[in-house]
């Protein structure tokens, strides 16, 4: 199939701008087409065909108890396939909409919530907030609308900062480090762009009750697809940055990882006649079968300058930019940490005999939180702080989003990595002896998520690592 390359536009460039206008005025054809497509998909939910809304949503993930289907619950989160899988997923969804509205040129818009030139960038576009819209002079239900219960929030400015996502030069890194897209090991590690903005924006929009806060319901929110189109766009943005290296071009990545990557394929739709995207078909979005490009793939100048500076800067913890990774050894670990509403704190004594650290402090510190679970409900964001000893001042090492833990089966786990290297000078100022560390994990109560009946999170193991 050959055809013109379609343009995916920023939804705010297509929006009528205000809630009142969205209710009464005609919409841009792209958003109108989206609404008609979603409406048509929802109408097929009773039959639950492969072009129905629920089928598309369940392909991502579905609540526990949903009947088994081999084409459902596929979402690849905290894996290096996060980006290509979602690219194929969006392409399949886009093709479904095209078919249902009879427009092969229709392209899914994206939501650039990081646009510094748009004062409304963080707001959910009004086409998604009005419960009614006017079609041919008649006020009708808006299929893109969700109640404030199901879509309570909007992105936080802190969470859409693109600097952490764009800084890594490499697509994958050896654990505990992660690249732009993930790690090169079998562990459950999210890449930089998946962690932020992806995970945080899910939590921001989903709040404590919304679809977007859990993988099992997120794709039922029409804004989900625009959020992921933006994440897909950010892959293109990163790809264009000088010095960015895709997985297949990196040195030092295990051959098995490269083979696994190159041979991957993603299937969607009817299991009898699935739509299959091979990895090589997903590399170039302007070629068949994808045939799209994004209107804007440039970083804002200030972010570009900051990324360039960090990429040229000296190594600091996990910001080291070499494909031949240094080895990180565990210094200390603690198990079975339950983090409730008041947080949890553990003093870890380093196993100095492992590395002979008695003579000084480590040059870098990484804190791994592995096997993190949420029994039922938890906050959307948690802080990780460190202190030189019990009673000493704490210093912020980092934070992580728990997107993917709430509303999923109890055995759903995530691993998180926090680079605490920047806190070392503060620890030294507190007369840190380098033979132990206090690690504290606490919920960010401003982050949304659980407020009553919080079951918190359970961390199987907290490990402190230092470079060899």
């Amino acid at each position: 199939m050959a055809g013109a390359v379609r343009i995916r536009d920023d939804v705010w460039k297509l929006s009528v701008g205000t809630l009142a206008a969205a209710r009464t005025q005609p919409w841009d054809p792209v958003l109108d087409g989206y609404a008609r497509g979603v409406e048509a998909m929802v109408a097929r939910d009773d039959a639950l065909t492969a072009d129905s809304w629920l089928w598309a949503a369940n392909t991502h993930n579905a609540p526990p108890g949903t009947p088994a289907n081999p084409m459902w619950k596929q979402c690849a989160h905290h894996k290096r396939f996060f980006l290509p899988w979602h690219r194929g997923y969006l392409a399949w969804f886009e093709a479904t909409i095209q078919t249902l509205i009879g427009d092969d040129d229709w392209a899914l818009p994206y939501w650039d919530y990081s646009d510094p030139n748009n004062p409304n960038a963080l707001k959910v576009p009004p086409e998604f907030k009005t419960d009614k819209r006017t079609v041919n002079g008649v006020l009708v239900d808006n299929p893109l609308f969700l109640s404030t219960q199901d879509r309570p929030g909007q992105p936080d400015p802190l969470d859409v900062d693109l600097l952490p996502a764009m800084t890594p030069r490499f697509f994958v890194r050896r654990p505990p480090a992660t690249g732009f897209g993930g790690s090169d090991g079998p562990e459950n590690r999210g890449g930089a762009v998946e962690t932020q903005p992806h995970d945080f924006v899910h939590g921001d929009i989903g709040g404590g009750t919304g679809f977007m806060r859990t993988t099992t319901l997120a794709a039922r929110d029409p804004i989900f697809w625009l959020h992921h189109a933006n994440i897909d766009r950010l892959w293109e943005v990163w790809h264009k940055l000088p010095g960015s290296v895709e997985l297949i071009n990196q040195g030092g990545v295990p051959a098995a990882t490269v083979t696994e990557w190159n041979s991957a394929a993603f299937a969607f739709g009817d299991p009898g006649a699935p739509v299959v995207y091979q990895m090589h078909q997903l590399a170039d979005t302007t070629a068949d079968p994808l045939r799209y490009r994004y209107r804007d793939t440039d970083l804002p100048p200030n972010v570009l300058a900051a990324v360039t500076a960090r990429r040229q800067g000296g190594p600091m913890g996990l910001d080291e930019h070499t494909p031949r990774e240094r080895r990180w050894d565990p210094l200390a670990a603690t198990e079975g940490v339950d983090v409730g509403t008041d947080g949890a704190q553990r003093a870890l004594q380093f196993d100095a005999g492992q590395l002979g650290l008695a003579g000084g402090v480590p040059s870098a510190l990484v804190i791994e939180l592995t096997g993190v679970r949420a029994a039922a409900d938890c906050h959307n964001v948690y802080f990780v702080d460190v202190a030189a000893r019990d009673g000493a001042p704490t210093h912020r090492a980092g934070r992580f989003s728990t997107f993917g833990l709430s509303g999923t089966p109890a055995d759903e786990e995530r691993d998180y990595v926090v680079d605490a290297s920047a806190a070392i000078p503060a620890l030294v100022a507190d007369n840190w002896n380098g033979r132990g560390l206090v690690v504290a994990v606490s919920p960010d109560r401003e982050s949304g998520g659980s407020s009553e009946g919080d079951d918190g999170i359970q961390i199987r193991q907290i490990t402190v690592l230092s470079p060899r």
Binding site: P175, A256, D351, Q354
Partner: protein
């Protein structure tokens, strides 16, 4: 080659710099598997060439009467099966072993990986004996080649399963271990036990196919299929392992029908 270049690439310098203990677990597993393959080939050739050769006792013998296995006994069969597991299955565990190594203190790396491999090997041995017992019970009516062929057909059919494809995606994932001590060892054992159902579902049919006999073509074909699949876990309905197993099936049946063929092939 100059003296300087010899010094630069000398194994001693490499060992001094890297330390052989620091080698990736995959290196050790591949090396051990290579030795196991050498032993398997030697075993097959020796049995075929031995003066007191009893064709009915050979690992690869088709249509084996149960009573004929008394000479070798369960111990010899078990030893051969363990060699097969090391040769065929251990290379599949390189990535999980590397992940386990990363989570524990350095002096606990070898014990935890050893525990992980031991549990998986013991579980494969249990499956081997169970499958062998089932085969021996059915041997009066089912010839060995038919047993192997039937399980190869099961394996080929399984390659079309969408659920099996999903299972492959998580085949290599491991959980975090305690960094040292008894909890690290029990953790490694638990990780192995949890991984086991996936191993059995993915590789079980080809392993059970060899419970009746394990001629070299069958071992090589089965290994090639599972290794290929492990290297391409997200390939969608990849025809390669299907073709490999189909050729193996054809070879297994054909060789069983060639009475005068080289016995070590059978």
């Amino acid at each position: 080659m100059t003296t300087a270049s010899v010094a630069r690439y000398s194994p001693r310098r490499w060992l001094d710099r890297r330390g052989i203990a620091d080698a990736h677990p995959g290196w050790w597993l591949d090396a051990t598997a290579g030795l196991a393959w050498v032993a398997l080939v030697a075993w097959a050739v020796a049995e075929a060439a031995g003066p007191a050769h009893d064709i009915s006792a050979m690992p690869g013998m088709p249509a084996v009467p149960p009573s004929a296995h008394h000479q070798h006994g369960a111990e010899a069969w078990g030893a051969h099966w363990v060699l097969m597991v090391v040769a065929m299955m251990w290379p599949l565990y390189a990535a999980p072993a590397a992940a386990l190594r990363r989570t524990v203190f350095r002096r606990w790396q070898a014990p935890t990986i050893a525990m992980y491999l031991a549990i998986l090997t013991v579980l494969w041995l249990v499956v081997g004996y169970l499958a062998r017992g089932m085969y021996l019970l059915s041997a009066p009516i089912i010839p060995a080649w038919a047993w192997s062929a039937a399980w190869l057909v099961v394996a080929i059919a399984g390659l079309r399963s969408l659920w099996r494809a999903r299972l492959l995606w998580t085949c290599q994932q491991v959980k975090t271990l305690a960094p040292c001590g008894r909890r690290a060892l029990t953790g490694a054992a638990t990780v192995a036990a949890r991984a086991w159902p996936r191993c059995a579902a993915l590789c079980g049919p080809v392993m059970v196919a060899m419970a009746a006999g394990h001629p070299l073509p069958l071992m090589v074909g089965a290994s090639a299929a599972v290794w290929w699949e492990q290297r391409h876990p997200r390939a969608w309905r990849d025809p390669t392992p299907t073709v490999v197993l189909a050729v193996t099936l054809f070879a297994t049946v054909s060789l069983s029908l060639i009475k005068e063929g080289p016995s070590w092939l059978m």
